[in-house]
Symmetry: C3
Subunit: 218 residues, 3 copies
Amino acid sequence: MYTIVNLLENMGQALRIPTSFVVIEFIGTFAFALSGIRLASAKQFDVFGAWIVGMATAIGGGTLRDLMLGLRPFWMTNSSYFICCAVAVLWVMLFRKYMVRQNNAWFIFDTIGLALFNVIGIEKTLNLGLPAWTAITMGGVTGAGGGIIRDVLINEVPLIFRKEIYAMACVAGGLIYVAGGELGMGPNANAFLSSLTVIIIRILAVKHHWHLPVVKGE
Amino acid sequence: MYTIVNLLENMGQALRIPTSFVVIEFIGTFAFALSGIRLASAKQFDVFGAWIVGMATAIGGGTLRDLMLGLRPFWMTNSSYFICCAVAVLWVMLFRKYMVRQNNAWFIFDTIGLALFNVIGIEKTLNLGLPAWTAITMGGVTGAGGGIIRDVLINEVPLIFRKEIYAMACVAGGLIYVAGGELGMGPNANAFLSSLTVIIIRILAVKHHWHLPVVKGE
Amino acid sequence: MYTIVNLLENMGQALRIPTSFVVIEFIGTFAFALSGIRLASAKQFDVFGAWIVGMATAIGGGTLRDLMLGLRPFWMTNSSYFICCAVAVLWVMLFRKYMVRQNNAWFIFDTIGLALFNVIGIEKTLNLGLPAWTAITMGGVTGAGGGIIRDVLINEVPLIFRKEIYAMACVAGGLIYVAGGELGMGPNANAFLSSLTVIIIRILAVKHHWHLPVVKGE
């Protein structure tokens, strides 16, 4: 069985015995929520609206994945995601003057979260016996879905459709995961290499201003 | 078992033996649909588009709740919601000159609907054995989800993220429901007190222009 | 049992033994995807964003239907939809100068797709034992849902709420399907007559600039 998912499904226990994965997931959730809350604050949302947009960003992709996979949304039996997003709202309210200076750190955490959420989506899908390409898709839905929902809620054209190598990094990581599996590698090694792929691609993409070609209009 | 849900699930029979709950649910659905149809008419939607937006407002929150809970959407076996929304379209077309004058009445009915939908969401979730905070969340999804979907469909930033004490009133009502349960009160008393809380908070919030603090931008 | 759905569910086999239905579904999917990709290109989306919007347009309605019906989304075990949408992205990139000239052809293919998707939604719903009016609704969700999701993603007010006889054509086709069933006609004849109804209504509506009345604002 795939280990990250098992670990996280037992997050109740896991929280008492913190592992690196749980810490990473919390940081990733926090970074995702921050991106939603910051955009919400730019639109003058109130604290409750900002919290909802933060949650939609952080857990929206995983919720969409679980609905499509016929599973109960992962957050329904674990309140730590909601608390994490509430802390993120407080963070933005308290440290808003320092947020810009923290940008590099949050970019890294957001990217680590993306890599982890991608692997979680892949593993949950493979655990159901679905095809590898469906798993890669659901990895992308988990990683990029929240950002799309966030942008729909704040009434903007989704950023990832135009500017960033984001979902594309998920797909690359997904291909590595699946290729590793075909080559007989274990799930831990797959998860690690896949995550590394997502992180490296996204960092390189931002650093070197990589863009996918735009589809030219008529 | 929780009584409102049982009553409404048997609404087929109930419609032949109208109870106050069925009447309240119809009025709430009608008021929710009206809010969608009026905004749709401000955007020059055609009758069919207005009907769809009215339905999305009235049954969208409950549909989202049912999908997340793994249940069949409640309206699939009961056509009265669709008919209610169609009547609401006719109402706006016939009485549009008098709508502004009716504003206070519709505000009250909308608030009563909010309170009832909140309780329905809470009870449906508790009936599945999910935690109390999940039930409060799903109450909010039931009550406020339709308005968010409405605003996404008419391409506006959701109103409840910026202006109104709306989802917050649901949460307060949800806390009362759960607290009542902890104190050993029966579901009928819980439902009544919870609804009353939602109604009073929303009326006071609108009357006294209460707002949650805005999350300031950077 | 209803034959189109059976045929398409076995599309894996069917692709090896192509039938007219499979060809029609491919053309319809392609035409739906094209409409999304062209609008995405007008908004300067990159290739990946255009692909996602194309897929959301082509398979979004059916996905929403399957989620509401409690079924696994139809595309999860059949990669041909994704490939079809990728080909559509290439098509727009290669032939963008000729797209306007192809408009009439794509309008016809889009309309044929609408008619087919409508019947698929109706039959899938009836197969679950749900009421006829629910089936008509789910036909409309299948046919028109993708276009609504598309417009939400590109941050526009959904076109079908204001301009086109689109969902309305689905409803008319649905009524014919159900009426045929009541009159004892077989599912093949129903599917054919229902599709023909959708196609004729939509062509006439566009040709003669039919519009539904607008709901006047206050």
